[in-house]
Symmetry: C2
Subunit: 332 residues, 2 copies
């Protein structure tokens, strides 16, 4: 058996630390679930399975918005408001920038200085590396660990410019879109479809000279949302304004989230959504791994460039190309 590395605890140590709310152990356990080493994965699985009964008892909130919208400032102020009301708040991030170009959105923990020193808060900067289910898989497991550790409000943060919003939307109870008031083109940069996923929209920086524009934007977005169909759950998304700097409007945001939670809990959609998300997670993880294994196989690697060129040159139909590649893959 391989010698255990220094930084690893025993299963029981992870478990006890997490259940006791020890943030250092929680951080280490998240590192464990992020690991791609077989030994670590096995322990992570055992740990997660043993903690499953302690999970699920939080409100999971997705937060997205373009860079510059003020996500950090919002989470800092909003999180501090919540810890002041006896909540325990965890902040996680899905960071697509680690796979592409651009800076990490969560690389600098100090950008939420107050919250990061709050004993009732836990902030986890995003990390690189992949595991089963991709970035989303890791974040979901980290979320479960936070819940087992007693955090009753989980923020999952992402930038509103990539694929990650759909992943975040698929793992939270409430999806919050932060927007800047602008001059009609304020949706520039927000990926198509994101507005339609929102359970709530908050216009940030609604203070000083910006207040009037923010109120106008609020009305515009509320009108635009009227054009979208109602959610299956019966929830009607609402637009609010806030100033995180001046701590204005934050209580209203929390009231909106609580109202949403109550409504969906009562009509059964909360439970339904959670169960659907669990199954979706399982399916996503399976599909992700099947596809990763396919493209990583030597048979596929050895022929995909040639076959792709044939498709782009119009010599092979994409359907036949797919069948050819699958034949190569199966013949290993």
């Amino acid at each position: 058996m391989a010698a255990r590395r220094k930084n690893r605890l025993s299963l029981e140590e992870y478990r006890e630390g997490i259940l006791n709310g020890d943030r250092i152990t929680l951080g280490r356990a998240i590192t464990l679930v992020e690991s791609t080493l077989t030994e670590d994965r096995e322990m992570a699985e055992e740990l997660l399975d043993s903690l499953m009964p302690e999970t699920g008892k939080s409100i999971r909130i997705g937060i997205t918005g373009v860079p510059g919208v003020g996500k950090s400032t919002f989470i800092e102020s909003f999180g501090t408001l919540l810890t002041g009301h006896e909540h325990k708040v965890a902040v996680l991030a899905i960071d697509p920038s680690s796979r592409k170009t651009g800076g990490s959105i969560m690389g600098d923990k100090t950008r939420m200085e107050e919250l990061s020193h709050d004993p009732n808060a836990f902030i986890r900067p995003s990390s690189t590396g992949t595991t089963l289910g991709g970035v989303a898989g890791r974040t979901r497991e980290a979320m479960l660990l936070c819940e087992a550790s007693g955090f009753d409000i989980i923020f999952i943060e992402t930038v509103g410019v990539g694929q990650s919003e759909t992943a975040v939307h698929g793992m939270v109870d409430f999806f919050l879109l932060l927007m800047l008031a602008g001059a009609g083109d304020e949706l520039q940069g927000i990926k198509k479809g994101i507005m339609e996923m929102a359970d709530g929209i908050v216009i940030t920086k609604a203070d000083g000279d910006n207040l009037k524009t923010a109120k106008k934007a609020k009305q515009e977005y509320q009108n635009a949302l009227h054009l979208f169909p109602t959610n299956e759950s019966g929830w009607y998304p609402k637009v609010l304004t806030c100033s995180a700097m001046k701590s204005q409007g934050l209580t209203e945001v929390w009231e909106l989230i609580e109202k949403h939670h109550k409504a969906l809990y009562q009509n059964g959609f909360f439970d339904k959504k959670r169960k659907d998300q669990q199954l979706q997670w399982m399916q996503d993880a399976i599909e992700h791994q099947l596809i990763v294994d396919f493209y990583a196989s030597e048979q596929v690697k050895g022929s995909i460039d040639r076959i792709t060129s044939d498709v782009l040159a119009g010599n092979t139909s994409p359907g036949k190309a797919a069948r050819d590649l699958l034949r190569h893959y199966r013949n290993h």
Copy 2:
């Protein structure tokens, strides 16, 4: 070698018939590519590969809208307008209803009576059955056959209530959304995100008492579209009104499509989009088949119910469940 069935032609007969624009042979060839028999699939692959150089020279138009919006009437009038201008028009359908409940949208060819008797039109009702790449895979191959047969305008029709719009959007040059004018809630029934995929929106039935409402709806939608980000291609979606019954506004729809085609052709996005779609098709087909094979395997079938129950009961994390199922699958 198995005796060839009566309805099957030789490869050369299919090929010649298609290239000569014979609609009977074209119809039979589409039946061939829809077949799931290994022998048919092999011939279909050979046929498609040999015809690839003759494909791609059409404008591919996706048309969607809720039942009742008047898709058939629109396509009938619009198609007749186009054949009157020396175009050859093919109408295909992606019909999700064949897999779920609800009537087939294309089951009755006679609903486009005029167009179906037009020697320059070809109408293909949707069929059931699946093959590599799912419903979308079949329709894409049928589209290529129509192109090889000289059809320079292809309509791909779908109902705007399911998953199929994304598939259609991924295989066409222009995505047209038909909408009814209503009283503010006219988007009810249109799935989220569909409006954002549209290159053009046409308010149908803009005649008689309905004309005023239609014009109002046009303005509302045009305003709503302003809130969405511009397409990567630089194309700005436009809203039009039409009356298919009175043949009003149809020329404008065609001008819009031509304008779009010209703009994207000139800035290189037409070619880029087509190539991206080819690769996406190949990837979709691969992923679809990997997933189908997984869930069809005896190993997975034998354990998925139990594992799913464990996930829903909260006893197993979805990530571990996925890994367990993948282990079962690999150990066959």
